[in-house]
C-alpha cells in the first residue's frame, strides 16, 4: 500500500523504509539530533516517533543573490545520508537549482505548492534580496523582492539559510551596490518608502496574509552546516514549533556557544602558545591560530562540535583560522588573517601622521611662546630711583 502512495503523502518513516534506511540508522540519527539540540535522551523515542509519522510540510526554497554554496553544502555529501533524505527526498516542492522543471512550469509548481499549503509550508531562503534596482536579480521575470514577499505571505515560518539570507552576506558588503538586505531586514523594512519597486498586489491576491509576523529562523554560515539545517527541520517536524533562538534568530542549540569556547586548540590559547605563521613550529604542533586571524572568539556556530564532511573535521582542525562566517558583517571586519586584537585600519601610519602633525604643532606652539617671552623681555623697561624721584 505504502509504495502506491504519492511521494508527498508518505510519512517520513515510509519514505525512509522505501529508501532502505535501517531503523538502527534512523534511531542513531534521532539520538544525534537530540544530543545536538541539547535535549535529554528520554526525548529520542519521542523524536523517532514524531519523525516516523511526520508528513513533511511542503518546503519552498528560494535562491536570490547567492553563490549556490549553501545548496552545494547540503547536497554534496559523498554518500547519501539520512540528513539528505530528510532534507531533499520529501520536502522540496520548489528549488531553482535542484528541480528539473524550469521557466513557467517551475513557477507554476511554486504557485501550486503555495495554494495547496497556504499558511503551512516552510519557506527556505538562501541569498540576499536586492532593493536598489529590481532588475539586479529576477526569476522568471519576477523580482527577488516580489517573489519573496509573495511566498513569505503564506509561509508558516521562514528559514534563512546561509549568511546572505541571514544577514545580507557578501552582496551586502560595503559598498553594497545592489542594496542587498537579509530576509529579516526585508521583513522589518517592508512598507518602508525607501525601498523601490515593491509590489504588494500579489500578496493581497493570495490571501491577505501579512509578512510582518512570520517567525524567522536564521541559519547563518558561509555555507551553513548541513546537519544544522536538518536539525532545525527535525525540531519543527517533531515539536511543530521553531527551536529556541538567540538575539540574531539563530537556534541556540547550534549557535549557543562560540567556536573559541568549544575549540580543541583552546588550551594553547590559554597557555599563550600560538602559531605565528602557517608553516612554523607552532602551526605544526597545532597551536592556537588566534594570531593568524582566527575569529573563533567572536563567532557562534557549531563547527567545533558537529564538524564538517560527516564529522571529519572543521576549518581550525585543518589548520585554518575561523573566518567568522556565521556572524553579520564578517567580510567588513578587516582582513581574514588579521587578529581580532589588531585594528582594522592601518594604525602604524596613523601613529606616524599623528606624531608628525603633533610634533610640528608642538614646536610651533613652543616657538610662539619663546617669541612672546622675547618680546616681553624686549619691551621690559627699567625704572630707577632717579625716575621715581623725578615723578
Amino acid at each position: 500500500m505504502t509504495n502506491h502512495k504519492k511521494l508527498k503523502d508518505r510519512t517520513l518513516g515510509e519514505a525512509m523504509r522505501s529508501q532502505g534506511i535501517s531503523r538502527r540508522s534512523f534511531l542513531k540519527f534521532c539520538a544525534a539530533t537530540a544530543s545536538m539540540m541539547a535535549l535529554p535522551p528520554s526525548m529520542i523515542p519521542a523524536i523517532a516517533s514524531a519523525l516516523e509519522k511526520a508528513r513533511k510540510p511542503s518546503v519552498i526554497w528560494l535562491s536570490f543573490q547567492e553563490c549556490t554554496g549553501c545548496t552545494e553544502s547540503l547536497t554534496r555529501s559523498h554518500t547519501a545520508t539520512i540528513e539528505n533524505l530528510i532534507f531533499d527526498s520529501i520536502s522540496l516542492d520548489y528549488h531553482h537549482t535542484l528541480q528539473a522543471a524550469s521557466g513557467e512550469a517551475a513557477e507554476q509548481a511554486r504557485e501550486e505548492a503555495m495554494r495547496e499549503n497556504w499558511g503551512e509550508y516552510l519557506l527556505v531562503v538562501d541569498g540576499s534580496i536586492p532593493t536598489k534596482d529590481m532588475g539586479y536579480s529576477t526569476i522568471a521575470g519576477i523580482s527577488n523582492l516580489d517573489m519573496f514577499l509573495q511566498t513569505a505571505a503564506g509561509a508558516a515560518a521562514i528559514i534563512s539559510v546561509g549568511t546572505c539570507a541571514a544577514f545580507g552576506g557578501i552582496p551586502h558588503a560595503k559598498p553594497n551596490p545592489t542594496g542587498a538586505y537579509s530576509v529579516y531586514d526585508i521583513i522589518k523594512m517592508y512598507g518602508n518608502a525607501e525601498l523601490d519597486g515593491i509590489s504588494s498586489a500579489s500578496i493581497k491576491n493570495n490571501s491577505g496574509g501579512s509578512v510582518h509576523d512570520k517567525p524567522i529562523i536564521t541559519v547563518p554560515g558561509c555555507p551553513p552546516i548541513p546537519v544544522v539545517i536538518t536539525g532545525v527541520l527535525t525540531h519543527y517536524l517533531t515539536f511543530g514549533t521553531i527551536p529556541e533562538l538567540d538575539h540574531l534568530g539563530r537556534p541556540k542549540a547550534f549557535y549557543g556557544q562560540s567556536i573559541h569556547d568549544r575549540c580543541y586548540r583552546r588550551p594553547f590559547y590559554d597557555k599563550g602558545l600560538f602559531a605565528e605563521t602557517f608553516d612554523d613550529e607552532g602551526a605544526k604542533k597545532g597551536w592556537c591560530l588566534y594570531k593568524l586571524g582566527c575569529k573563533g572568539p567572536t563567532t557562534y556556530n557549531a563547527c567545533a562540535t558537529t564538524k564538517w564532511n560527516n564529522g571529519t573535521s572543521f576549518p581550525i582542525e585543518s589548520g585554518h583560522p575561523c573566518l567568522g562566517c556565521s556572524e553579520p558583517h564578517f567580510w567588513d571586519g578587516g582582513g581574514f588573517y588579521k587578529a581580532l586584537a589588531i585594528p582594522t585600519i592601518d594604525i602604524p601610519t596613523t601613529v606616524v601622521y599623528a606624531a608628525a602633525g603633533a610634533t610640528a604643532a608642538g614646536v610651533a606652539l613652543g616657538a610662539l611662546n619663546q617669541s612672546k617671552k622675547k618680546n616681553a623681555i624686549k619691551q621690559h623697561t627699567k625704572t630707577t630711583i632717579d625716575d621715581l624721584e623725578n615723578e
Binding site: 553579520p328 586584537a341 589588531i342 585594528p343 594604525i347 602604524p348 596613523t350 614646536v363 611662546n369
Partner: protein
C-alpha cells in the same frame, strides 16, 4: 548598529580617533614642558645633572621608611595595581599583538590564566583604593571629579576585559567591542588628565634630581 558592526567600528574608525588624540595630545603636552625653556644657571655646578636625575628616577620608586610607615596602604596598593596594570596591558598575548602591529616588535606573553589572576588582583586593589579615598576624610576633601573619572577610566578596561575573557553577561562580540571602547576612552582622556603622569613622572623625577645634583644636595 549590530554588535559586529559596533566591534568593527571600535576596531576601525574608533581606534583611529582615539590613537590620534592620544599620540597628538601626549606629544604636544611633553613638548610644551620641554620647550618652556629654563634660564641659564650661572652658578658653578656642584655635581652632574644627568647622574643626579637618573638616580632620582630610580630612588623615588623606593619609599623611605617613614613614608612607608605613614602611608603603608597607599604605597602597597599603588604598587600592586600599577604592577597589575603593567602585566595585564603588556603581557597578555592579544595585547602584545597590537603593540607588535604598532611598534614592529614583540615580546613573550604570559599564560592567560596568570594575566587573568593579575587582572582580578588589580580590580580588587583599585576598588580598595576607591574605598580608601572615600573613607579618608582628607583624601575625600582633596578629591576632584577628575580623580574619580580617572579611576573609572582605569578600572573600566580591566573589568570589561575580564568580562570579555570569561564571556560574562553579553555575547562575545559585544563584550570585546565594549572592552576596546573602554580602552579608547582611556586613551582619549589620557593626555588631558593626571594619567599623563605615566610620561611626566620620569621628566619630573629627573628634573628634581638634576637641580639637586647641580646644587650639590641630596635629592
Amino acid at each position: 548598529m549590530s554588535e559586529i558592526e559596533f566591534l568593527n567600528w571600535v576596531r576601525g574608525p574608533g581606534f583611529e580617533i582615539a590613537t590620534v588624540i592620544f599620540i597628538a595630545g601626549v606629544i604636544i603636552r611633553v613638548l610644551e614642558i620641554f620647550l618652556l625653556g629654563r634660564k641659564n644657571n650661572l652658578a658653578e655646578a656642584r655635581g652632574s645633572e644627568m647622574n643626579g636625575g637618573l638616580h632620582t628616577i630610580v630612588s623615588r620608586s623606593i619609599p623611605d621608611k617613614n613614608t612607608f610607615q605613614r602611608s603603608t596602604f597607599k604605597i602597597v596598593s599603588g604598587y600592586v595595581f600599577h604592577l597589575g596594570l603593567l602585566i595585564t596591558i603588556f603581557f597578555y598575548a592579544p595585547h602584545i599583538l597590537l603593540f607588535k602591529e604598532i611598534l614592529g616588535f614583540s615580546w613573550p606573553s604570559l599564560p592567560s590564566a596568570v594575566v587573568d589572576a593579575f587582572a582580578v588582583i588589580t580590580i580588587i586593589t583599585l576598588i580598595a583604593v576607591l574605598i580608601h579615598r572615600l573613607r579618608d576624610r582628607v583624601l575625600r576633601f582633596l578629591s576632584t571629579t577628575e580623580d574619580y573619572l580617572v579611576w573609572f577610566l582605569t578600572i573600566a578596561p580591566l573589568i570589561t576585559g575580564y568580562m570579555a575573557f570569561h564571556r560574562i553577561g553579553m555575547t562575545a562580540p559585544s563584550l570585546l567591542a565594549i572592552h576596546i571602547l573602554s580602552v579608547e576612552l582611556l586613551l582619549i582622556a589620557f593626555p588631558f588628565t593626571k594619567l599623563m603622569h605615566a610620561f611626566t613622572l620620569v621628566i619630573a623625577r629627573w628634573y628634581n634630581g638634576a637641580i639637586s645634583a647641580y646644587r650639590g644636595v641630596q635629592s
